[in-house]
């Protein structure tokens, strides 16, 4: 269903590319340029790059290439994600927004109808997040807070459909569970980036990931997908699931 189109890159050169919607995920696109195949999202802030990604102008819209080595969500998509809970219009609570690389693409995906509540606790990264990402994108609410203290941002964040957690803490899974209890809608879903090296450097990553999945199960959440992010990210995995139905 895709045809060859001409795209203008940011430096003004004209390229011949193939643009297609991702077969499974709303808001995600594929741009194929000869041998070079990449993921992309339709930019909500035309003319701006966030982390030096490529920009293509095609048929009056702007698309930003999405680098799986920089963004773990893109890595998960390339590694065979079955279902992406983040859809156009989703409300997302994003823990560990960092400088906003992934956040900017999530912002593209959820579009003007969606909202991202981006929580970050490192001052330096938060500055980049606000300056480079939030100021140009009206669907992001930046929150300078420690995700460990869930209630500190209670008055800013309503209940959400999706919780995305990418924080380098030893008790990252527990922190996410606490946030899910407060903020996740009944049928909401989570995406958890397990950083096995932040949890325990001395254990095999596979064992750490298994243990975190078990922790989620014990606390009343299903683990529907478990995706290793190699080779894009070493010793990382993405877990996706939702709240278990009460029997």
């Amino acid at each position: 269903m895709s045809t060859v189109k001409s795209a203008v890159s940011l430096d003004g050169s004209i390229l011949s590319v193939r643009l297609s919607k991702h077969p499974k995920f709303g808001g995600v696109f594929r741009i194929d340029q000869a041998e070079n195949r990449q993921l992309a999202t339709m930019s909500l802030a035309p003319g701006k790059t966030v982390y030096g990604e490529m920009i293509y102008r095609i048929d009056g819209e702007e698309y930003r290439s999405w680098d799986p080595y920089r963004s773990k969500l893109a890595a998960a998509i390339l590694k065979g994600l079955e279902e992406n809970p983040i859809r156009p219009g989703s409300r997302v609570l994003y823990l560990g927004a960092a400088s906003g690389t992934t956040v900017s693409h999530v912002s593209d995906i959820v579009g003007p109808k969606g909202v991202i509540y981006a929580v970050e606790f490192a001052q330096r990264s938060f500055r980049d997040l606000v300056e480079n990402v939030c100021k140009d994108r009206p669907n992001i609410v930046p929150i300078f807070a420690d995700a460990r203290f869930t209630l500190k941002y209670r008055s800013l964040v309503p209940s959400v459909e999706v919780l995305y957690c990418d924080i380098a803490q030893q008790d990252q899974t527990r922190i996410m569970v606490e946030n899910m209890r407060t903020y996740l809608k009944k049928d909401g879903q989570y995406l958890l980036v397990v950083k096995s090296r932040s949890i325990d450097v001395s254990k095999e990553p596979a064992d750490v990931i298994k243990a975190e999945a078990a922790f989620l199960e014990r606390n009343g959440y299903t683990v529907e997908e478990k995706i290793r992010l190699e080779p894009f990210e070493k010793d990382h995995a993405m877990l996706i699931g939702r709240k278990k139905e009460q029997e």
Partner: protein, 454 residues
């Protein structure tokens, strides 16, 4: 009646159990002003202009105010008194009201639409974000951190350029390289004297070189095997030299600045181990308060993370010191004392950091005296290296394979070290530095093969 108090960027709302807003205090609709009020509210303080809200609530007949966070609880106490406030972080009613708040506000025509509410939340958050960023910029320890990072960058550049100049001038006067060790003296000599004909004994003495060394250099200059250096080429080299010398001056200035800032920010730490090293430690951690929260044992090995993680993963010997190794009493002491001294230094340093971060008194000089006494005591108590244990080949250095438990050990743990690399199949990666051992999957495959062997 029972009521619930909810704070939001729009205002404060007292809601009864039927879900009706019974009392409210609306904040300014301008995001900037709203953010100012909201910051106070989240500290648990009600700004003066909302005092009538307090009065109106007090006039109602309320038995209990339920809130879901500490700041709002503090706020409610100023209104209703301690006995009436109930803090329940997961109260289902409050959760419900919070979710419905924007809808209720629209119905009461306090805001136009849910979208408007969301826009206000975003704008207020952006204002709060700016405040948070601004607060970070006023922290002076962060200036010291940037300065010490500048010093580290300068050191790298200076080493590189000094090496280049030695190589360059070495074409003309190769013998000088060995004779003058210090980079800045070397460059200064090239800059001031030029070609080796000018390296006479008297000229060198005038440049501040000791007499006996001057004599040796002058001799070498006369017998030099180097090529001639035309004046035109020398001029360009001199230009590079003068630029590098300027960088040396800059480095000195940076140190002076660090001294000045650290004397204000961390007087105790800098009295103990010097300003630059203190700043380096603050730089690694990212801020003074972070240092203050660290245990002494962490401070001791700060900067030796690679060795520390090797200990955790392979059971190798733990590092004895990280950056504090740069503290003279540690690196100038005999090897067997360094660990003990590092431990003493780290202990005092942890105390000093806490005094600095939390505004304690100036005890740096006293602590320094106590530390010196401790170091002297260690030196007199352990004048000789410890005796070797039977079967132990050497006392210091990384553990050898036998000491770690032989090959069996290697099979159980991942990681890799100097002696591992030699074992990698095909010898790939050996000697390239960094990396460390075969890749995980290579290792796993090899293990599998070994296990399947009959």
């Amino acid at each position: 009646m029972k009521a619930y108090l909810i704070e939001s960027p729009v205002g404060l709302f007292l809601i009864d159990k039927t879900g009706k807003i019974v009392e409210k205090a609306l904040f300014p609709r301008n995001p900037k002003d709203a953010a100012l009020v909201f910051v106070e509210i989240r500290k648990g303080v009600l700004p003066a202009e909302y005092e009538d809200f307090t009065k109106r609530v007090a006039s109602l007949d309320i038995e209990r105010i339920t809130v879901d966070n500490q700041a709002t609880a503090d706020l409610a106490m100023t209104i209703g008194g301690l006995s009436k406030v109930e803090l329940n972080e997961s109260d289902p009613a409050i959760n419900r009201y919070r979710t419905r708040l924007s809808g209720m506000l629209v119905r009461l025509q306090l805001i136009e639409s849910k979208d408007d509410y969301e826009k206000l939340v975003r704008d207020v958050s952006l204002e709060l974000a700016k405040t948070a960023i601004g607060e970070a910029a006023t922290r002076r320890d962060l200036f010291a951190v940037q300065t010490v990072r500048t010093i580290e960058d300068l050191d790298k550049v200076l080493n590189l350029l000094a090496g280049r100049i030695r190589e360059w001038y070495g074409l003309h006067f190769p013998e000088l390289d060995r004779l003058v060790e210090k980079h800045d003296s070397y460059i200064r000599l090239v800059q001031n004297l030029g070609t080796r004909d000018n390296f006479t004994e008297q000229a060198l003495i005038d440049q501040g070189i000791p007499a006996d060394k001057s004599q040796r250099i002058a001799e070498a200059a006369q017998k030099s095997a180097g090529a001639e250096l035309p004046e035109s080429d020398l001029a360009w080299l001199k230009e590079v030299c003068s630029s590098v010398l300027q960088q040396y001056k800059l480095r000195e200035k940076a140190e002076g600045y660090t001294d000045k800032v650290l004397a204000e920010v961390a007087p105790n730490m800098s009295a103990l181990i010097g300003a630059v090293l203190s700043a380096k430690i603050i730089s690694i951690v990212g801020g003074l308060e972070g240092v203050a929260k660290m245990p002494a044992s962490t401070l001791q090995v700060l900067g030796a993370e690679k060795a520390l993680f090797r200990t955790i993963t392979t059971g190798a010997r733990p590092p004895k010191h990280g950056v504090i190794f740069q503290f003279a009493p540690i690196h100038t002491s005999p090897r067997w004392l360094r660990g003990k001294i590092a431990r003493a230094v780290a202990g005092k340093l942890a105390i000093a950091a806490r005094m600095d971060a939390y505004g304690g008194e100036n005890q740096g000089v006293k602590m320094k005296a106590a530390l010196d006494a401790k170091i002297n005591e260690l030196k007199t108590r352990y004048p000789e290296p410890p005796a070797r244990k039977p079967g132990q080949n050497r006392t210091y250095g990384p553990p050898r394979r036998e000491e770690r438990g032989g090959r069996d050990d290697r099979r159980r743990f991942g990681g890799g070290g100097r002696d591992r690399r030699r074992w990698s199949p095909g010898g790939s990666g050996g000697g390239t530095g960094g990396g460390g051992g075969p890749r995980r999957h290579d290792r796993r495959d090899r293990e599998r093969r070994q296990m399947n062997r009959p």
